[in-house]
């Protein structure tokens, strides 16, 4: 099957969103472009964007490769995407509110109770908590794939602590430095104001009763975390403090950070520490990354935690397969953006089907992320499939399977000129009293020819994503 190319689809010729860019590209000297590619790498090295890769012998820090050909989306395409995304994040927050209160969706039998009851992402400690503006998941990275001109699907909802937004910003910054003339020729909607929007969005969900400008801070697990760069970057760009658990304690009924003038109250904490490590008095007692007692302060309504603890129950891969039902249940409408058909291996009939079609499917761990522990059937060897089949048989409920989608492609610049590679898209959504979506997002690209795995931990790269102001 030939993949849909977003620039030059087979038989259809150059697509409109790429016309202006193509016109510019044709007049470029290939040698100059190659030089620009090297410049881009220097920019990234200088800004210090690196990414720690887990599971390798030495946890090495490396650059995520950047490709200088932008991925371009028309204003119209974007409007349709944003409608679908808004509908989805509204449903996600309604689902979380319901799951931690009356659980109407379980009573109605639309989502099986067992899926929640046996799920580690469901936090009983959140039962009865209604955060300001009813928002549980404030920052969402929705992974979207395209397979045809008008066919977009949501691959997953990252509703816990999605990362990657710093790459979106640095990619744009780099493109502006390398090709300022391009941005004069082509009107591209800005993404640079994301940190200001994030700040506004977080300020809007400050605890009830906080008047004036709330104090915001970013909580990082520390410099050994793979996304530490992003935590520091976002804190810096928002003009707020970057803090670690050891800097914080409970003072006067609030979580407060140590400063040179004593302890200062925090109203909104953008935390990049996972639920299990957030509060050793409530969750894992051995955690040194969290803040003891923060859940008590939270339940007392004296701090906003973004994203709220327990949001993982909404983006769990087993829950994902119920998203069409969830969207309809809470919005009363059919989903605008489709779900990928998903086989839940916990169901015997599905398991049988999956075992018989391993060579055609992508099989993922229910709680996994980052492309770890998955099998891409068509790309796997017979031996790999056999080994995976045993794992699947041993713990069926740990896996879901999806068809291998022919993700759309976008050209990248190689030594031999432009060549198509598969891409996905992660727009970043901010939810507070309103929903804000920065036009664009992170385009991840599988750099290996034919590969469908775009994860940076598995050899993927990134591109600047343009939404045209047309």
């Amino acid at each position: 099957m030939v993949a849909f190319d977003e620039m030059l689809p087979a038989e259809a010729g150059l697509r409109r969103p790429y016309e202006a860019y193509d016109g510019w590209l044709k007049n470029q000297d290939p040698a100059r472009l190659t030089e620009k590619m090297r410049d881009a790498e220097r920019v990234f090295r200088k800004t210090g964007i690196t990414f720690a890769v887990y599971g390798e012998q030495e946890a090495s820090e490396r650059l995520i490769p950047f490709d200088i050909v932008p991925r371009i989306i028309s204003g119209n395409e974007w409007r349709r995407l944003t409608q679908g995304i808004e509908q989805r994040v509204q449903a996600l927050n309604a689902f979380l509110d319901d799951i931690y209160h009356r659980q109407e969706i379980l009573r109605a039998g639309r989502v099986p109770r067992e899926l929640i009851a046996t799920n580690e992402a469901f936090l009983p400690e959140m039962i009865g908590v209604r955060p300001p503006a009813g928002v549980y998941t404030h920052i969402i990275g929705v992974d979207i794939v395209r397979i045809a001109e008008n066919e977009f699907y949501v691959l997953e909802d990252n509703a816990r602590t999605p990362s990657g937004v710093s790459y979106m910003l640095e990619n744009r910054e780099t493109m502006l430095q390398l090709f300022p003339e391009l941005f004069q020729r082509i009107k591209v909607q800005p993404v640079e104001n994301y940190p200001q929007l994030l700040r506004q969005s977080l300020a809007a969900v400050r605890p009830n009763g906080v008047n004036g400008t709330p104090t915001i801070a970013v909580l990082t697990p520390g410099s050994f975390n793979s996304a530490y760069f992003e935590h520091a970057f976002l804190a810096d760009q928002m003009g707020v403090q970057l803090v670690e658990g050891q800097d914080l304690r409970v003072v006067d009924g609030h979580v407060a950070m140590r400063t040179t003038e004593g302890y200062k109250r925090i109203d909104v904490l953008y935390r990049r520490v996972d639920d299990a490590y957030l509060d050793p008095m409530t969750f894992r007692p051995d955690s040194t990354l969290g803040v003891p007692g923060i859940m008590d302060v939270y339940r007392a309504g004296n701090i906003t935690i973004a994203n709220a603890p327990g949001t993982g129950i909404a983006d769990d891969k087993a829950i994902y397969s119920y998203m069409p039902e969830i969207i309809e249940f809470y919005t009363g409408r059919k989903p605008i953006l489709g779900n990928i058909p998903t086989w839940r291996c916990s169901e015997p009939d599905s398991l049988k089907y999956v075992q018989e079609h391993l060579g055609e499917l992508v099989i993922k761990e229910v709680h996994g992320s980052g492309g770890y522990g998955m099998l891409v059937g068509p790309a796997a060897s017979k031996k790999e499939r056999e080994e995976f089949s045993k794992k699947l048989a041993a713990r069926p409920s740990n896996y879901i399977a999806q068809p291998t989608l022919s993700l759309s492609t976008c050209p990248i610049l190689t030594e031999k000129g432009l060549a198509p590679r598969h891409v996905d898209l992660r727009p970043f959504v901010l939810v507070s009293d309103r929903i804000r979506i920065v036009p664009g997002g992170l385009t991840r690209v599988a750099l290996k020819e034919g590969s469908l795995v775009v994860n940076s931990s598995q050899g993927g790269g990134t591109k600047d994503t343009w939404v045209l102001d047309d």
Binding site: H101, Q103, L106, M126, G128, G253, G293, V297, R299
Partner: protein, 264 residues
């Protein structure tokens, strides 16, 4: 019966404390089996930071400690009017769904010993089976202090065959869940006959029986709670219902002294 309770907890430290927190669940609520008449908390050497209802509706407070105090004292005391409801504490309330109490927690995860125990409960009506289970646990676990601690799991206690009310309650909750009953852990007080001084705060378990609601089972004493019991907090296990739990940062060594009186 009108019960007068005084529960004094004293922590003393051998050096100043850099920072510490204590979480208290020491505020009983009125319900079908009891009415709170007066209640008060006296705290010395620590500051109350927040007060809130936890996921099970327990009135909870967080205290902080730092600097000089070498001791902190928490006294919970008051009067409660109790009545004998034959152990029935009423319908399920709150947002925590009943199904939450059907599943094990780390402290109540069943192993083969608990599975065997649950399987040995005879057939019969709900209450009959639960009373049968309570009797089995009382036989199997002798009340001996000092042989288990707050981290002992239900399975470990049953294998060991000795323990305190916390262990009896964990084993009961774990087994009742295997038999298909939602079950929870209750912390509170018991007025032992002929004595004002109580050795410790008490704990028992409750199972949910469709026709009656929550019903209490005190496997340590082989009986359902009556008017000598005061309930304070509930959870799926000890960790979620414990009266006082803390965290201490720094090198100080902590010494604990508890003094409880329950009298008419």
């Amino acid at each position: 019966m009108r019960l007068k309770v005084s529960h004094r907890t004293e922590y003393s430290y051998d050096e100043p404390i850099r920072y510490g927190l204590q979480r208290l669940r020491l505020w009983p609520a009125s319900g079908p089996a009891q009415t709170m008449l007066t209640w008060a908390l006296h705290i010395e050497g620590a500051r109350e930071e927040v007060r809130f209802l936890d996921q099970f509706g327990n009135d909870t407070r967080l205290l902080s400690i730092d600097g000089e105090p070498h001791a902190i004292t928490v006294v919970a005391e008051g009067e409660v009017e109790t009545n004998d409801t034959a152990g029935v504490s009423g319908p399920h309330r709150g947002f925590a769904p009943l199904w939450l109490f059907e599943h094990p927690t780390p402290l109540t995860a069943p192993g083969t010993t608990i599975r065997d125990l649950a399987a040995s409960v005879g057939s019969g009506g709900d209450l009959e089976r639960l009373h049968g289970l309570m009797a089995l646990i009382q036989q199997r676990i002798a009340y001996v202090t000092g042989t288990t601690d707050s981290r002992t799991t239900a399975e470990e206690a049953l294998v060991k065959g000795t323990g305190v009310c916390q262990d009896h309650s964990h084993v009961f909750a774990a087994s009742a869940r295997l038999l298909g009953f939602p079950a929870r852990y209750v912390s509170g007080y018991l007025m032992m006959n002929d004595t004002v001084e109580q050795v410790a705060s008490h704990a028992w378990a409750e199972a949910y029986v469709s026709a009656l609601g929550w019903v209490g089972f005190d496997a340590a004493n082989g009986m359902s709670p009556d008017e000598r019991y005061v309930r304070v907090a509930v959870g799926r296990d000890y960790r979620e219902a414990m009266p006082i739990a803390g965290i201490l940062i720094g090198q100080a060594q902590e010494r604990l002294a508890v003094h409880i009186t329950v009298e008419q």
